[in-house]
Assembly symmetry: C2
Homo-oligomer: 146 residues x 2
C-alpha cells in the first residue's frame, strides 16, 4: 500500500486569499496585496502550500496569519486555478478564497511588503502568477452581488 501511494504523483496544492479589509466601523478599506520576497517577484494575493493532514481552509487561515498577520473569515471559494503554466517553477494548483478581515496587516514571512488597494486601483500589470486573472474574476464576482 505504501508503494502504491508513493507512485501517485499529483500537482502541488496551494491556497490563496483575497482579503477584503474593513475598519471597525465596517468601512471597506481595500484588498491586501503583498510584494513578494522570493521569485517570482511582483505583487500577489497572499497564500501558500497546504500541508499534508491540514484542511485547505485551515491552511488558508494559517497562511494569512503568517504572511499578513490577519485572522480572516472565509466568505466563499472563488475558484480552483490549475493551469500548469500559472507558476513557472512547478505545477501548483490554487484553491482561492474570498475572505474578510479587520485590523492592520503587517508583512511577514514570504512578504517583503504589503499594500492595501481599493478595487479600482489594483496594479494588474505588476501581479505575479495568474493573479491578474484571479482578481478579474473576483471583481466580476463582487459586481454580481449588486
Amino acid at each position: 500500500m505504501e508503494d502504491y501511494k508513493n507512485k501517485i504523483k499529483t500537482p502541488l496544492l496551494a491556497t490563496d486569499g483575497i482579503i477584503k479589509l474593513f475598519d471597525k466601523d465596517e468601512i471597506f478599506q481595500g484588498i491586501v496585496l503583498i510584494e513578494r520576497k522570493n521569485p517570482p517577484l511582483g505583487f500577489a494575493i497572499p497564500g501558500g502550500f497546504v500541508d499534508v493532514g491540514e484542511k485547505v481552509e485551515d491552511a488558508l487561515k494559517r497562511e494569512m496569519k503568517e504572511e499578513v498577520t490577519l485572522d480572516v473569515q472565509i466568505e466563499k471559494l472563488l475558484g480552483v486555478y490549475s493551469d500548469p503554466k500559472r507558476d513557472e517553477r512547478f505545477h501548483c494548483v490554487s484553491c482561492t478564497y474570498i475572505c474578510k478581515a479587520y485590523g492592520t496587516p503587517k508583512a511577514a514571512d514570504d512578504a517583503k511588503n504589503l499594500q492595501i488597494y481599493k478595487l479600482e486601483d489594483i496594479p494588474f500589470d505588476k501581479l505575479a502568477f495568474d493573479h491578474a486573472k484571479i482578481l478579474k474574476e473576483f471583481l466580476q464576482e463582487e459586481a454580481n452581488l449588486f
Copy 2:
C-alpha cells in the same frame, strides 16, 4: 531548485464529478454513481487523480470518460473537500464539479458497475468517502436554483 521542489509535500489532488444525465429530449434521468471495484468499496461519484501537467477540469473530463464513458460538460465547481480523514488511505483533496452529460454510460476502469439514481433515491448509506456529505451539498445547491 529541484531540491526545493522535492521538499514540498502537499496532499494528493483528485477531482470528482456529479454527472446529471439527460436524454436527447433534455429529460433528466438521474445522477451517475459507480460501484467501486477497489477498496474502499461502496458507491461513489466517479473521479480520480489529477496528473501533473493537467488542468483539473481536463482531469475531470478524462476521468469521466475513462470510468463511465461519458463526455461531460462542466456546469460549476461545487466545492473543495479536504478533510484529512475523508479517505482512509491517504490525505486526498477533491475538487468536485457538477456536470451534465447525454447518452448511455458504461462502467469501466475503477468502476465495477454503475447505476443512475433519481435525486430522491440516492443511497446515502452506501456511499464511500465523504460522498454522502458532498451529495447533500449538491442537493442543497440544486434546490437553491428554484
